[in-house]
Amino acid sequence: MVNLSVKLNNLIFKNPVMTASGTFGYGIEYNRFFDIGLLGGIIVKGLSLNPRQGNPPPRIIETPCGMLNSIGLQNIGYNKFVSDILPQFDNIDTNLIVNIYGSEIGEFVELASKLNNYKQISALEVNVSCPNVKAGGATFGKDPEVIFVLVSSIKKVCEKPIIVKLTPNVTDIALIAQAAQSAKADAISLINTITGMVIDTKTKKPFLGNKFGGLSGPAIYPVGLRMVYETYEKINIPIIGVGGINSPDIAIQYLLAGASLIQIGTANFVEPDISLKIIDGIRRYLENEKIDDVSKLVGLAHN
């Protein structure tokens, strides 16, 4: 029997496979496909203090082995989230992680301090990397000093583990990760989407209502993997790998590169129960390789 469970601070993940923010709704929607309690964790759609409308349509377009999205953080807002969604998690046996977004530092802090009160929530993932909102987000994610202030401020008001999710659209991602680590972040998620665009040659205009969108899907996995590998050599808090994972092989590549946990994003749309297949594939790989604990894979590619 192999051990698939992973520890992060005091949190136990029953396996290293989580679902990525914005690709798994509020989790509940997937119960029609499988028991979401089987997952290592669920990261819900980016939440803000107030409800957000999101960007004008069209919001998605397919690209070669990928897709662009410009959802723009449409969400139901804090109040509705705690009243309607949280109670549904009372009896779901997995880690619920709330991805949070604010248009300024104060908003992040207020939201984090409020969410700190809910026992259903295992950790917060701070989204400093969404390319689809005008104010705040993207800028935050690119400046190590802002990251430091943001994360320090959140840590002051929230006792739950703080995961910082970074944008790949930077020159040196490890530098930003180091700033988050200095501010006592508990883990780093890498990567959010890569900014891209598609132009409609019929109308001669950008296809997406918001012009730009975030590229996700298998196309980007070599980039996410490289960033995990690079960052692993520069920080000593856990890394959560995300970007293009849609097979056990790619998931294992992320673990070998240095990710302690991984997230499945776009692949959830294509194959709703892909996470289970990946958990199973990781288990079988460990059995074949006669490795008794998934944590022993982490970072092996650096040896």
Binding site: Q53, I71, N246
Partner: protein, 236 residues
Amino acid sequence: MQTLVLSNDKVANDIYCLKLQKPYGFDYKPGQFLMIKVNNLNEPLLRRPFSIAKAVSSIDIYYKVVGLGTKILSALKNGEYIDITGPFGNNFEIKYKRLALVGGGIGVAPLIGLKNFLDEQKIESECFFGFNTAKDCFVDFGSIATIDGSSGIKGTVVDMLAHLDNSYHVYACGPNAMLSALCKLADEKGFSVDVSLESNMACGFGVCLGCSVNTIKGYKQVCKDGPIFNYTEIVW
């Protein structure tokens, strides 16, 4: 869910009818759709949405070849398997009015199942379908209009609707030009209209938030709040 292809035949210009083995316990309401993964590769990456035209002995889908996904679909042979999820979406609500089904081109597809359902329930309805030419037509019932007059009356499907008044409710699906002509007529004559909308989709069940349409109550999801909307709700 891997599903057996029973047949996949060309039924008109660029239009195919795909029949899939109906999985045990499969149930749907007219207006709902499936998401189909057309191959096992990462290209095309996403599933494609298709209305269920009928699900009596098999699941029947009528589709038009417009791009890569539908082109790949058209090469499927009986005996092969494809992966479906669904049915998803809301459905045509039956109104206690005189009912007319109005479809243009491939937009006729979801109305086939509705007609079937209404017939089963012994609810009367009139059908009006428009195509560019006789070669595009893939239905064998209803009143037909073609732009070039090669089948039925010469003109658009909306030209056949002069008799509709506020005692009617219309179920419509078709190209935007048709829908806007229809809605203009509805404003004039006072009949009500439910339309089935399209949008690029990633998931099909409300989690990606990618398929938004602008309504008078803000953005709604075509896949979950729709695909069927009252036309007065939509900000065109």
